[in-house]
């Protein structure tokens, strides 16, 4: 079964010949018309529309955007802030980069509509430090929009005013966690805050109600109000509405970004038909479906899935429809949409050692289980790779992981332990035999650590 055609909504103009990132080009393509219409409507009506659309956050957690907005404390009398999470740093994810570089006004329009819908007077775009060019492009685009009366004072000639500033991070993954991001925006170390009481919707930036949304999520808001929630609901499947951008990297013929309605393609279609299948002479071994913290899937494993009517069905990895709920049913997650593919040349101990080095580097160090655990997972997997593997190391490392998840302030605890837990659960044999077969490791001796 070949894959259907892409359905590009967010990425409609990405890589389009002649499309530039200035405001003239954006407006020539109908840009800012939705914002102009939105500011004549009631904010609560816009919020209802977004809630009705079923939009789920595209940053990783897949939480309902409408619900997130509904938690905002609107009675405190304090200003409400909106922060755009452009910290894109989950390994395997590279979608927001293209929106920022090639279509920044789409993000600005989505942001301004969301600000108006939530009575926000000041927004910040928190962009990761490694996007210096992206930050300049956004600043330029915001200035163009300001000059055109679309950002800043008296937007579109109305009483409504709201400005946007760009704030650059400085290389810390944890700033993608919303409360860590807020701390960073306040000028501190990005140590995530404990919830309760520090739910951003109530006690966020400067202890004021704050909304933190991913870049792609805010772009969706624009399209929801363009087509209306009823039309948007028709894209995708129930509870998994709209399109998703899949960022495919690793061992496929055609890595890149592909936008499809949620659940419209299966993992098999995406990797084989869309991405051209494995490299010559290789076979797929494993895939991480939603950024490096998502649990790995092993080609050849089967999943028994319950249907709504109580019957069951069996899925292979290739059969899993790519939407939030199906991936969750298969024991992993859609996360940020970063799909990392590994073929039979990869030794899983080495791949895990690479991932563990990342998380040990990025733990903020605030909670003991995560600070110590992520480091020990790295130390053990690195020791294995350096020629001192023991048969029981798989169990040992899993044991460390089991003591992190659920015992930390933020979800980094889960993010750093899920790879170890799932790699050992699914490739336990490779961990056991690594001490004996390390000389016959990766077929082309690709170094991963």
């Amino acid at each position: 079964m070949s894959a259907p055609a892409e359905r590009r909504i967010i990425f409609k103009h990405i890589d389009e010949e002649g499309y530039s990132n200035d405001i003239a080009c954006y407006q020539k393509h109908g840009g800012y018309e939705i914002l102009k219409k939105a500011v004549t409507q009631k904010p609560e009506d816009l919020r209802d529309e977004v809630k009705k659309s079923g939009l789920r956050g595209r940053g990783g957690a897949g939480f309902s955007c409408g619900l997130k907005w509904s938690f905002v404390d609107r009675k405190s009398g304090k200003p409400i802030y909106l922060v755009v999470n452009a910290d894109e740093s989950e390994p395997g994810t590279f979608k927001d980069r293209y929106i920022i570089h090639q279509d920044p006004h789409q993000l600005i329009e989505g942001t301004m509509i969301s600000c108006f819908a939530n009575d926000v007077k000041q927004a910040y775009i928190y962009i990761r430090g490694e996007f210096p060019e992206g930050a300049r492009i956004l600043e330029q685009a915001i200035q163009e929009a300001r000059d055109a009366g679309l950002v800043g004072k008296n937007i579109c000639g109305t009483e409504y005013s709201c400005d946007i500033f760009v704030h650059r991070g400085a290389g810390a993954y944890i700033c993608g966690e919303e409360t860590g991001l807020i701390e960073s925006l306040e000028g501190k170390r990005a140590n995530p805050r404990i919830k309760p009481p520090y739910f951003p919707a109530v006690l966020g930036l400067y202890q004021c109600p704050t909304i933190v949304n991913n870049v792609e999520t805010l772009c969706h808001v624009k399209h929801i109000l363009d087509m209306g929630a009823d039309e948007y609901l028709k894209i995708g499947t129930p509870n998994n509405t709209g399109t998703r951008i899949f960022c495919v990297s690793g061992h496929v013929q055609k890595p890149g970004y592909y936008e499809y309605a949620c659940g419209e393609v299966t993992m098999g279609q995406l990797l084989n038909d869309v991405c051209g299948g494995p490299l010559p002479g290789r076979t797929f071994k494993a895939v991480i479906p939603g950024g490096s913290s998502a649990k790995i899937l092993r080609f050849g494993e089967k999943f028994t899935i319950k249907n709504k009517d109580g019957t069951t069905k069996e899925w292979a990895v290739e059969d899993i429809p790519l939407d939030f709920d199906s991936l969750a049913a298969a024991g992993t997650m859609g996360g940020s949409g970063g799909v990392i593919v590994m073929d039979d040349s990869v030794n899983m101990v080495e791949a895990l050692a690479n991932i563990n080095a990342f998380y040990a580097h990025e733990s903020c160090g605030q909670c003991t289980p995560c600070r110590e655990g992520s480091l020990w997972m790295k130390k053990i997997s690195s020791r294995m790779v350096k020629g001192e593997a023991r048969e029981e190391d798989g169990e040992l490392i899993k044991n460390v992981a089991d003591q992190i998840a659920g015992r930390t302030i933020c979800a980094f605890g889960e993010a750093c332990s899920w790879p170890t837990q799932s790699f050992v659960a699914k490739f336990g044999d490779e961990f056991k035999s690594y001490k004996d077969d390390k000389n016959s490791k990766s077929s082309d001796s690709l170094e991963l650590v």
Binding site: G92, F94, G129, S184, G187, I340, N354
Partner: protein, 161 residues
């Protein structure tokens, strides 16, 4: 602190973006690092005074974020992505190539003072792995051959100047 006039102008402007001065910490660190090249003790004290903070408040930020550095680096900063997708595409070899081309080790200034080569975590361009960020420019699909080309270009440029 001996900062360029335009840096000072930008510093005063950026502080107005926030209702609380402390939020200016990261922007000021970026601006000063871009101007001077690294963050000295003097810079930490200068920022603290400017933002009405204690030096420790700035120091703890400098030591938390990987992009801020306490020592000068080479003229060009070569950051090779180390994370999984790039490693699967040969990122470690790319990195080794830059090291050997400039006769240097990770994190050190090369003997000719031209570059500092560093391994960094995910640069969010996994579809065009391996990727390398040189100063503010992203280079994509950098295999060993392309790493050699880039290195040659940097060397040729330094001979000209």
């Amino acid at each position: 602190m001996n900062l360029k006039p335009e840096t000072l102008t930008r510093i005063d402007e950026v502080i107005t973006h926030y209702p609380e001065k402390r939020s200016g910490t990261l922007p000021l660190l970026h601006l000063i690092q871009e101007d001077v090249g690294h963050i000295s003790n003097e810079a930490i004290e200068w920022i603290a005074e400017k933002l009405e903070l204690e030096p420790i408040n700035v120091y703890e930020v400098v030591t938390f974020y990987p992009m801020f550095r306490r020592e000068p680096i080479g003229k060009r900063h070569i950051k090779v992505c180390r994370t999984l997708s790039c490693a699967l595409a040969g990122g470690y070899r790319t990195c080794a190539k830059f090291e050997s081309e400039f006769n240097t080790h990770l994190g050190e200034v090369s003997p000719d003072g031209e570059v500092t080569v560093e391994f960094v975590e995910c640069l969010a361009s996994c579809g065009t792995a391996p990727v390398v960020l040189i100063d503010e420019t992203l280079h994509e699909n950098v295999d060993e051959a392309k790493a050699k080309e880039i290195s040659d270009a940097i060397k040729a440029e330094s001979l000209k100047s």
